[in-house]
């Protein structure tokens, strides 16, 4: 059986979730490998969410929210950006590299960008292969 990546996406309600809605209303298609978990803001996304996703079987995690300056809550995405810029390096240092954690700004108007993003991430993870049962961050089932 071919490997189908499982991608968990954490997105904000105001930009990326709406952007993904637009992808739908525009009938643009993308790979069915993504599962979206909606949050009010990227500022809400705790690093624990990412670890939990990997633990539970995700092959990659996508985090997406409003472009800088567009945050519905004024600065939630800036808080998120700073958090991730350090956390992703810590993940990479401990073996979870940039083929596993993706970040993007997708506005409510960027339906096409969302479709392209999902396709690209899916392809990249497909090429990288399964997250790996042997990785310590993964629960042994």
């Amino acid at each position: 059986m071919t490997f189908e990546p499982r991608i968990t996406a954490f997105v904000c309600n105001w930009c990326t979730y709406a952007g993904a809605d637009l992808t739908g209303t525009s009938r643009l298609s993308y790979a069915p490998n993504i599962r979206i978990v909606k949050l009010p803001c990227t500022g809400r996304i705790d690093p624990l969410f990412v670890l939990k996703a990997f633990e539970g079987g995700a092959d990659a995690v996508l985090i997406s929210g409003c472009h800088p300056g567009d945050c519905h809550y004024a600065s939630g995405n800036y808080h998120a950006r700073r958090r991730w810029s350090l956390f992703r390096k810590l993940l990479a240092f401990t073996g979870i590299d940039e083929n596993r954690v993706f970040f993007s700004w997708v506005s409510a108007a960027e339906g096409q960008k969302f479709a392209n993003l999902v396709n690209k991430v899916t392809e990249q993870v497909r090429a990288a292969g399964p997250f790996g049962e042997r990785n310590l961050a993964r629960r042994r089932l």
Partner: protein, 672 residues
């Protein structure tokens, strides 16, 4: 008091009994997702007692189906798998509420926009729909009944700034039945508009149209003026702000003063430059800023009055028949309650001394637009005659330089100040009306005259009144020994350098926010852009609101604006405030953060991170009032529910209603 609607149950008290309702959306979902199969799959999920699919869930029969299920199966939660929650969440939640289920116990799984419309392969789409439904069932199982936050609304608006924008907002709010407290930091309301001679594009006299409004504001029974006052501190939130206002010492009791003027006619300090007249005229140490001031009661300028600085003089007290002068007067702090706030802090002119080559600030006859307004004003220091500040002679050639500081991101400001093209045309026109043999030369970069009657106005200045428009920048202005100002520039249309010998140079300085505007913004939790102008909540769709709920913007504090735009925005802000006052209570989405005070160790990470200043210190005291611990607390009136606090809390002592750790964790786990 919160009112608790009577719902069948509060959610978690009972074993989960969840209903799943899958919509075909005609063919929109059903074509790609096998809805009956998804319903069968959902029925197997733990806690699900009912799983149905139907052609149109949002239709009346569809909603009836949900209502019936809630009533008959005593559902503790519901998942509607249909379109995006942005489309119909409100619809289904209202339906749930009608059937007696707390609306926040219903969630939607987005199987249309995020699934059937973007995937074509049926098996994969159905598998994804199953996942999305399972995730939401797991979330709903952990949902809590939430209740809209109700905040009582104080039907008073605090308007900060007594210029035309503030006055207009105050009058409109009062006319709509609200009460207004209008705070102005100078001794009189009126703002910059009171200083203008005539206004474009109709050339009606500024005083004639403004002063009746000033008087109306002062005499309106529902408007309270607080002049010579500044906002000191702000507490509370939309619906019930508590604002501390510093009432600066006037040294004149406004109750006793009749405004007769004996005091300022006798004051021996005659040479203090008048701020109102842009330094071209003078005032006394006890003064009203201008004859039509409202209130027309003097104040003493403590920095200049010798009685206050050295204890010598006391003449004004002697001549005041009413005994209104009180040299021992002190600043007082007064608290004002308000449900809404309109910020109309206004603007000032950019300090053009950064353009040393124009001689502004050094050469007496290089003046700014306000100085020219005062020269042209019938009530100004020259009685409306255009005179050179240096020698009082009538200037025969006046050069107007536009974009002084505007559209220059190197030394000035990157933005266009928007009003200068118009007022420069007006200045040239007024000058030519007053000095018939005079020459008005305008150096411009582009003429931007977008507005009703604006382009026609500029054409009139050029064609009827003979203003000479030169497209080009001025490189230097210097003073020759005979007193003439030599203006060196370029006419870029013909491509050659150009020199004009002028008697007066008027710089159209950029509009910038008032000094102290940023501090005021911080007090109210309003953001500023990089230039210091107040940030609106959305540049297109919410141009009057700010990120702080209940705080609205009017006038040039938000961006450079002319009078019509300022007035229009002020009326819009007034409408927003009145909209708030239309109901006795505000109802807000209950998605807010909560601190577990037993676990909080007060590292203050959330307090630092909160974009709304909603997270604050909270002192836990025992019954005797002894301080036990300090922890963080979230003010539910200020919290907007972004959840940034929850993510920065290392001990997870902060959680977000509606997107709690338990809910999110369960959702992630459900994706296995």
């Amino acid at each position: 008091m919160r009112r608790f609607p009577k719902y069948v149950n509060a959610g978690r008290a009972l074993m989960a009994r969840i209903g799943v309702f899958i919509c075909h959306c005609g063919e929109n979902i059903g074509r790609t997702v096998d809805c009956p199969a998804a319903a069968a799959e959902a029925a197997k999920l733990p806690g699900v007692v009912l799983s149905l699919d139907y052609k149109y869930m949002c239709s009346d029969p569809g909603q009836q189906m949900i209502n019936k299920a809630i009533a008959e199966k005593l559902l503790t939660g519901a998942v509607v798998a249909a379109c995006s929650p942005r489309m119909h969440e409100r619809t289904f939640r209202s339906a749930a509420a009608q059937a007696g289920l707390n609306p926040y116990l219903l969630e939607m799984a987005n199987v249309r926009e995020h699934c059937s419309w973007v995937h074509s392969e049926r098996a994969a789409a159905t598998a994804k729909a199953n996942d999305l439904i399972r995730v939401m069932v797991e979330k709903v199982r952990r949902n809590k009944a939430l209740f809209p936050i109700r905040v009582p609304v104080e039907p008073t608006a605090l308007v900060v700034g007594g210029g035309i924008a503030g006055i207009q907002a105050a009058l409109d709010i009062a006319a709509g039945g609200g009460k207004v407290v209008l705070v102005e930091r100078s001794p009189s309301i009126g703002g910059h508009m009171a200083r203008l001679s005539e206004t474009f594009p109709t050339l009606d006299c500024s005083q004639c149209i403004l002063t009746p409004r000033m008087v109306e504001a002062a005499s309106h029974p529902d408007i309270r003026l607080m002049t010579y006052s500044e906002v000191e501190a702000v507490e509370g939130f939309v619906g019930s702000f508590e604002v501390t206002v510093r009432r600066k010492a006037r040294y004149v009791d406004p109750e006793k003063c009749t405004g007769c003027g004996d005091c300022f006619n006798k004051c021996p300090l005659k040479k203090i430059p008048s701020e109102f007249d842009a330094g071209l005229g003078s005032r006394r140490a006890i003064y009203v800023p201008f004859p039509q001031a409202v209130p027309n009661k003097p104040v003493i300028d403590a920095a200049n009055c010798t009685m206050l600085t050295k204890g010598k003089c006391g003449l004004c007290a002697k001549v005041c028949a009413r005994g209104a002068i009180d040299y021992k007067d002190q600043d007082r702090l007064e608290k004002v309650k308000a449900g809404a706030v309109v910020l109309a802090a206004g603007f000032e002119l950019w300090d053009h001394s950064a353009y040393g080559e124009y001689g502004g600030g050094r050469l007496k006859d290089v003046i700014d637009g306000f100085a020219f307004e005062r020269l042209a004003s019938a009530s100004g220091p020259t009685g409306g005659e255009i005179r050179r500040p240096s020698d009082g002679s009538e200037p025969k050639t006046v050069v107007f330089i536009q974009c002084c500081g505007s559209r220059d991101d190197k030394k000035g400001k990157g933005y266009c100040s928007k009003i200068c093209c118009m007022y420069t045309a007006k200045h040239a026109m007024l000058y030519r009306h007053k000095v018939h043999d005079g020459r008005a030369v305008v150096f411009y970069m582009d003429v931007r005259a977008a507005g009703k009657g604006y382009e026609e106005f500029v054409r009139r200045a050029i064609e009827a009144d003979g203003a000479e428009y030169v497209r080009g920048r001025v490189s230097r202005v210097y003073r020759r020994r005979d007193g003439k100002l030599v203006v060196k520039g370029a006419d870029t249309l013909v491509g050659r350098p150009m020199t004009v010998e002028a008697d007066l140079v008027v710089l159209a300085d950029a509009m910038v926010p008032r000094r102290g505007a940023e501090k005021l913004a911080q007090l109210f939790g309003v953001g500023c852009d990089t230039d210091g102008f107040y940030s609106e909540a959305h540049p297109k769709l919410r141009p009057v609101e700010t990120a702080a709920a209940g705080v609205f913007l009017a006038g040039a504090c938000q961006a450079p604006k002319d009078i019509p735009d300022s007035v229009a925005q002020a009326s819009a802000a007034a409408a927003k405030a009145l909209g708030l006052f239309a109901k006795p209570e505000l109802e807000r989405e209950p998605v807010i953060a909560r601190v577990n005070k037993n676990l909080c160790v007060h590292c203050r990470a959330c307090i630092n991170a909160c974009p709304y200043g909603a997270a604050k210190d909270f002192e836990i005291k025992d019954r005797a009032g002894k301080l036990l611990r300090v922890v963080a607390e979230v003010n539910e009136g200020l919290c907007q529910g972004c959840g940034t606090c929850a993510a920065v809390c290392r001990s997870n002592s902060v959680d977000l209603d509606g997107f709690s750790d338990e809910q999110v964790c369960a959702q992630i786990a459900a994706l296995e």
